[in-house]
């Protein structure tokens, strides 16, 4: 194996470790800040670590319709999101170029959503099926936004390579980067939906469909799903930062990691604030909202093709 490949693999693994360590902390920040907005004391910042440890140590009850598929769904989901972690840049440029390109990244993110749908299907109850249905609808309407953002970057830099696209490529237009700025706006106001928090936590809405696809999970598998949700928050933030706010790197790897994570934290704070001040949308309302954004992003794509 060549030296380059080893460095790529090590870089990817470093990313996985960063995500695994940081994700519960970000969740902790989110919870604490939410509590503060709600005039509560809130749990300690490291509470999510305890929660995960507690769930991991609990009895695993397989009560759904099809336990093998439930098992498969949760491992698939966790594996997919961790592979995504290898591909996304944290501090330095995207580490694992050899594994795949931007298209693989998009497939893997979609796979994550499909794993949730499988989980809902495996649980087999009416509520989890509704949750699955909703997950599918939001996947179909939401995913194009991210695709368009990355494809616009790819058009500008004439490459699907991860390290080139995930480095502020959306602004690399020949002319004034109109398409990049439009996509910045679109992604900013749809970010809440990508990380599936209120008002877009529709597929899991506890007070409507009782956590939908997750309803039959318990113990370690529930812990993994919770971990995936937390990791999604970090990874989507990292993706957003890499695509749209790439500036401020020093060249010193550990420092750059911290800078990158600080930018991600700002995204998380924004997510928290929106989640604490909104009521949940209904599926049809959310779909109409996404559809409008898809329309706008297609216009941006057109502009990118003509060099803006």
């Amino acid at each position: 194996m060549s030296g380059k490949a080893i460095i790529e693999i090590l870089g990817g693994l470093a990313n996985v470790v960063i995500v695994l360590i940081v994700a519960p902390f970000f969740e902790g920040v989110l919870r604490k800040l939410t509590a503060r907005i709600q005039s509560r004391q809130g749990p300690p910042l490291w509470q999510p670590y305890y929660d995960l440890l507690k769930l991991l140590g609990k009895e695993d009850i397989e009560s759904g319709e099809s336990p093998p598929m439930q098992r498969f769904a949760v491992y698939l989901s966790f594996a997919a999101i961790m592979t995504v972690a290898c591909l996304v840049p944290f501090g330095s440029h995207a580490p694992a170029n050899g594994i795949g390109d931007v298209l693989v990244l998009i497939y893997l993110l979609t796979l994550c959503g499909i794993a949730t749908m499988l989980a809902g299907l495996a649980a087999g109850s009416t509520y989890s099926l509704i949750g699955m249905n909703r997950e599918m609808m939001s996947l179909i309407t939401l995913e194009p936004l991210l695709v368009v953002a990355m494809v616009i970057g790819a058009i500008h830099v004439h490459s699907f390579r991860l390290d080139q696209v995930l480095a502020g490529s959306v602004y690399a237009a020949a002319g004034f980067p109109w398409s990049g700025l439009i996509m910045l706006g679109v992604m900013l106001i749809s970010f809440q939906a990508f990380v599936q928090r209120v008002p877009f936590d529709i597929a899991e809405a506890e007070t409507e469909i009782m956590e939908g696809p997750l309803m039959e999970y318990s113990g370690p598998k529930l812990a993994l799903f919770k971990y995936v949700q937390m990791a999604k928050l970090v990874i989507y933030s990292a993706l957003f930062v890499a695509l749209f706010i790439p500036w401020g790197h020093t060249g010193l790897y550990p420092l750059d990691v911290l800078i990158h994570l600080a930018k991600c934290l700002v995204m998380v704070l924004g997510v928290t604030w929106v989640a604490a001040t909104h009521a949940r949308y209904r599926m049809d309302q959310a779909i109409r909202y996404y559809a409008l954004l898809v329309g706008i992003s297609v216009i941006a794509l057109g502009m990118a093709v003509y060099g803006y």
Binding site: T126, I130, E208, A279, R280
Partner: protein, 558 residues
């Protein structure tokens, strides 16, 4: 329309079918009618005289008059009159013409006396079992006088399942309940869903029917019942406590001292305050807006502490006895209550201003769970649900009790009839409640708390009382009896009527709106009847049956 005018019109229309009319004064009218004409009289009162349906009551009167008794209660809200149409039934088995086709609101009440007393409502459009469990054998009726309060019939099958109706064609069935995160108590809705649209539903409730009425009629005494009545509801218990005491007082022609009336008014309004704040919190939680949920609970908490300071309890104030109240307000309590009200008012004003223009919250509540004034009339909807639909009814003003005739307040109404206007109505009622309490604190006269009562209350008298609970009108009916307890005590909680409006409210709207539509009537079901205990040391899980629990409760071990 004044009472004598109503009697006149009834006599004109029905002649000898009107057997007797009692007008015991202060806004009550009892009309005894011929059972054959009952149905047409009810239609006339409900449609032509435009009275509001309150409830229907069955009673086993055989030990006293050799007959069963059925009463349909109507309210003339504009003239402050509660009217009871009574008839004696001599047949065996007793039968009475059902009025549910003319008065749809009577649907449940008629099924209830069919279950509990075996009085058959002939021609009922949907004579399915309502209250009794499904394994209960036919022909046994627990509210009859020859049945003991702890009677369990032979062949009672505790585990028999409920037989559901066939869903309409092309619809999927989605079970909602008996346990669901947004249902605080067990109740089961079977929703018929087409895609994401709800096309209809079947309801099965009464899963924890506790037989409190039977207990009151056969075990407890006049002054013990208020404490049992308070436990009918965990949120608006004081309402039932006061309503029962007033019904007995009214039957026995007792008037409690003025200071007691003011204290009752203050506690009822304190209860409305905490209940409305609780509701706003829960409603916001249902639509995923947890920040307002937390904030309204924070604002509510000092009210609970205040209630504890006044009565010794956050809830269950144990306020009333017949002819008065059990405890007093000191000067310090008054001063502190003023302080708490001031703080709650300020904080709530800030919340209401923030919410009033909230487009995001409107998205989930505007035009959802709509009720029209026609539905309100037909199903007998009450309280904020009726007022939000523009129907201006409020027992505090229409049938004044306690000290409500001595304070000023506005009856808040809305126009939309949807969840949003119910939210606004409740939010504004908080300010009116604060106003009422302030006036009461100011005007409360000195004097005794409790009347000296004669040894025995008169026997065979009837009394009815309507109290405006936070959820709507709670109605109590009492026939006084021997052995220091009532012969018949009937409670109709507000949710009893409001729940019957749910099928119409959720029809043809999205499944996601079901929870908030149901939540918007502020439903109040009942308590649990079974529990699970986990031994932490051994990790062993034991599920106790109802039988074992009852046994343990008697031995007081756990």
């Amino acid at each position: 329309m004044p009472a004598h005018k109503i009697i006149e019109r009834l006599k004109d229309q029905f002649g000898v079918a009107i057997q007797r009319a009692d007008l015991p004064g202060n806004g009550r009218l009892f009309v005894f009618v011929d059972s054959a004409a009952l149905k047409s009289i009810c239609r006339f009162v409900f449609r032509d005289l435009d009275a509001r349906y309150v409830t229907s009551i069955g009673s086993d009167d055989r030990p006293y008059s050799d007959s069963f008794l059925v009463a349909h209660h109507f309210a003339f809200d504009r003239t402050g009159l509660l009217c009871s149409l009574l008839t004696h039934l001599t047949g065996n088995p007793p039968k009475v013409d059902s009025i549910s086709k003319e008065v749809p609101a009577a649907n449940w009440a008629e099924r209830e006396f069919r279950d509990l007393l075996g009085i058959e409502p002939v021609g009922h459009p949907y004579p399915k079992r309502l209250v009794l469990p499904d394994g209960w054998p036919e022909g046994k009726h627990p509210l009859r006088k020859d049945v003991a309060w702890n009677f369990v019939p032979e062949g009672y099958d505790e585990d028999r399942e409920f037989a559901f109706d066939e869903p309409p064609e092309g619809c999927m069935v989605i079970p909602f309940g008996p346990f669901h995160p947004t249902l605080d108590e067990p109740a089961h809705f079977r929703l018929y869903v087409e895609g994401e649209m709800v096309r209809g539903c079947e309801y099965r409730g009464f899963m924890a029917h506790r037989g409190i009425e039977k207990l009151g009629e056969s075990v407890l005494t006049y002054n013990e019942i208020p404490m049992a009545a308070e436990r009918i509801c965990g949120i608006c218990g004081c309402v039932h406590n006061v309503a029962y005491a007033q019904a007995v007082e009214q039957a026995a022609a007792i008037k409690p001292p003025p200071r007691a009336e003011f204290i009752r008014t203050i506690m009822l309004e304190l209860e409305r305050l905490h209940s409305h704040l609780l509701w706003v919190g829960l409603a916001c939680h249902i639509v995923g807006f947890d920040t307002l949920f937390m904030q309204s609970f924070r604002i509510r908490e000092p009210l609970m502490w205040m209630a504890e300071k006044i009565s010794g309890n956050r809830k269950t104030y144990a306020l009333c006895l017949i002819g008065g109240v059990r405890w007093d307000f000191t000067a310090e309590l008054k001063a502190e209550l003023q302080q708490v009200l001031l703080k709650v008012e300020q904080e709530w004003r800030a919340v209401v201003e923030a919410v009033a223009g909230d487009r995001n919250l409107q998205k989930r509540t505007l035009g959802i769970g709509v009720t029209s004034p026609e539905l309100v009339k037909n199903v007998g909807l009450i309280g904020p649900v009726a007022r939000a639909a523009g129907v201006d009814i409020d027992c505090r003003r229409d049938h004044p009790y306690a000290a409500y005739d001595r304070v000023e307040f506005k009856v808040i109404t809305g126009t939309g009839g949807d969840v949003w206007s119910r939210l606004l109505v409740r939010a504004q009622e908080v300010f009116e409640s604060i106003r009422i309490i302030r006036q009461c604190l100011e005007k409360m006269p000195e004097g005794p708390l409790q009347l000296q009562l004669p040894d025995e209350l008169p026997i065979g008298r009837m009394g009815m009382s309507s109290v405006e609970a936070p959820r709507g009108e709670a109605h109590h009916f009492v026939i006084t009896g021997e052995n220091n307890r009532p012969r018949r005590w009937r409670v109709r909680a507000p949710t009893y009527q409001n729940l019957q409006g749910i099928p119409a409210m959720i029809k043809d709207q999205q499944l996601a709106d079901m929870t908030i539509s149901l939540g918007s009537i502020d439903p109040c079901f009942s308590c649990t009847d079974r529990m699970e205990i986990v031994d932490i040391r051994s990790g062993k899980t034991t599920v106790y049956t109802q039988e074992e629990l009852r046994e343990m409760a008697r031995r007081k071990v756990l």
